[in-house]
Symmetry: C2
Subunit: 413 residues, 2 copies
């Protein structure tokens, strides 16, 4: 009864596709290791409440959720941060701070099916818990940048746009936005790139209820993308100074790490999520052809909300889908194809036991070795060796069998 298909939005990864995923995951792990992050994982299925607690009941529309056979409300994880918060909370006292952890979970969302939109993806999550100073923000952002650099991408390919919730708040409050409308205002400026300055100005005036001149002051601040321009703004408005210190320190640290070319200020980066409390950043391709490659920031209140343990925290997520598109586009994906060390050809079926002994010895020594399982003719065996990308072909002969050993050529290094 043939005809089962992959569910819409899910991927079959054939070996060539999986080689790409392995390259991406391997690079993620390598950079995390250099930065001293340790890998963890949690269950792909979690109590539904873990997500509604963080994001509100409306998140359920986007989840793969159901009632399990034990009458529990459960969901396939749509993100990793609530699991991290739960795990850290459960052992908060026993863990050395700062906690620097990463994970590579597969995540699931029931999104409306659109061209190229998937319902699952893999995501690198790097988080630092238990460190409240901006040194941690610099460490995390540098890690995100270095992950992309490790794939061969440069500052000509991508840029990190950085904002700071405290600084943004100071600008908004200074422009007369009432505290209770700050979230509303954040969500409006988040649309700046898509909707343009005129539309945003109008909405700030109409919806948030501030003067046009105040809206213009906000738009002027959002327009400043270099550290210098922002420093000028702060110079003219001394009361902004205290809330600018962290952002300034962050950029100084990234400059010390020689990563200045990879960052710019963009106060319109809000990331919709109400839960960010400090630094917020997104990494984009410079050509602006793709969605964000990576997004993250500081979320100092989440742990106490989820786990009851009050620890400052920050992190980012980087998915495999946009990243794969970008690497493919820039020709930075590894060549596909298998490649093995040795292919052994038996001159005669009677030599199969000598061949098998040699194959097994080579494999025991760590080499990748293939041979014909079937009763293939000599010529076909050579063809198969070539198709498999064998570095050396070894023909096992009757003389080898008589002598009791098969001469093996060294692999050129």
């Amino acid at each position: 009864m043939p005809g089962f298909k992959t569910l819409p939005g899910f991927r079959d990864l054939y070996p060539d596709d999986l080689a790409v995923r392995a390259h991406i995951m391997g690079t993620w792990r390598e950079v995390a290791r250099r930065y001293g992050f340790r890998e963890y994982d949690g269950p792909p299925l979690e109590p539904l409440g873990l997500y509604t607690e963080k994001s509100g009941p409306e998140i359920v529309q986007q989840l793969y959720n159901f009632t399990d056979k034990g009458e529990r409300e459960v969901a396939l994880r749509p993100e990793m941060t609530p699991t991290l918060a739960r795990m850290v909370g459960a052992r908060a006292n026993g863990l050395r701070k700062p906690i620097k952890w990463f994970a590579i979970p597969q995540l699931f969302r029931y999104e409306r099916q659109q061209r190229g939109r998937l319902r699952e993806h893999f995501q690198l999550n790097m988080d630092i818990v238990g460190e409240g100073t901006v040194a941690a923000d610099a460490e995390l952002l540098a890690a995100a940048i270095d992950v992309l650099r490790a794939f061969g991408l440069t500052h000509e390919d991508f840029v990190a746009r950085v904002s700071d919730r405290h600084f943004l708040r100071a600008i908004f409050v200074g422009a007369g936005v009432p505290a209770e409308r700050l979230t509303l205002a954040y969500n409006i400026v988040d649309k700046l790139e898509r909707e343009g300055a005129a539309a945003i100005r109008k909405r700030l005036v109409d919806t948030v209820g501030i003067e046009t001149a105040s809206a213009d002051r906000i738009l002027d601040a959002l327009n400043r993308t270099s550290l210098k321009e922002v420093e000028d703004l702060v110079g003219e408005n001394e009361w902004l100074h205290p809330d600018f210190l962290d952002l300034k320190d962050l950029f100084d640290r990234l400059r010390a790490m020689d990563l200045e070319a990879y960052v710019q200020i963009d106060l319109s980066v809000v990331r919709g999520l109400a839960y960010y409390t400090g630094t917020v950043f997104e990494l984009f391709d410079r050509r602006g052809e793709l969605r964000a490659i990576c997004g993250g920031g500081r979320y100092d209140d989440l742990l106490s909300q989820i786990s009851g343990v009050d620890l400052p925290a920050l992190g980012f997520g980087m998915g495999d889908v946009v990243l794969t598109e970008l690497l493919k586009d820039r020709g930075l994906l590894p060549k596909s194809g298998q490649g093995i060390d040795y292919y052994l050809v038996a001159e005669d079926y009677e030599l199969r036991h000598v061949l098998l002994r040699t194959v097994h010895q080579l494999r025991d020594a760590g080499c990748s070795v293939e041979y014909s399982l079937g009763l293939a003719l000599r010529n076909r065996q050579f063809k198969e060796a070539s198709a498999l990308g064998a570095r050396k072909v070894v023909v096992v002969t009757a003389e080898d069998a008589a002598r009791g050993s098969v001469p093996i050529p060294e692999l050129s290094s």
Copy 2:
């Protein structure tokens, strides 16, 4: 609102636990590479029908299944073979045969909660598709054995018990079991180890309806665990000879690979599953303290059933849970703990930028490097370096800053 717990039967993997999983998966991948298997993956969520088609509707009781928001009946994958069959079937013509693939899926079953029983685990799946000769059976079984050897286990720790469905059938038919009661008889002898010979004899007589003498002949055959004993049986019953050739060839090949000490014949290995068609095997710890470490065999009919493409196939699954218990018990798990290359100590907070530059240069060179993110005192920084297992501690001084470079000691190799 604290208090979310991990779902029963699911695991949180803290970094030390994940290091164990990484070691296991790394070893699995390493041996698969030596054998020329290529990795693939499929979706963890599949159409429910994929599993009921293979295993019948009763499987649903054990599944995490639900109706998704698009009214599709779906299930978290309980095994990988149906996905493999679907994927191979979809591209059967374009794939070079034999197909040698492996995967490391996370699998899910809603089992009744028992002590130590999990509802998810990771499983190495290795399969060969498109090769009907017993050479493939030897290749696959050798791979399973070598996976365990690669962990440091020896023939004193584990053994592969091997049966062959054709040979078993010949013995049963020869003892008078009617064709339509063969499956019933297989399921009875599958319980031999647990229930003992007397109980099995009684059930063969009472349920299958054969003579006591016939039941004894079956039990005598099941009792022979060395190749020699089975060869004697075949010698005395010439009509068994044709159905014995494959099993004999399999053992000859394993002997050629110097793996004879790892295999024994055990015709009572049935693995309940009706779908095995030839070789069937299970790997057990020699002390008999654990459930099977690994099980597999030849299933030549499944691909046409699932995908409509008629290709011979065989494979095995090896879960991470029993394997981890065994390795732990034998002291073969790697030591936990992090270990980094360098820890950099700043003598003074003012030196942070010099420190950051040096940290970043070392990380760019591939080293794992840590430093204090907070404003820790010198002594505390040294303590942290020690806690992180740093191989070298480097103190950044004012002189380094003045000179503009920090001397870095080589890592002893």
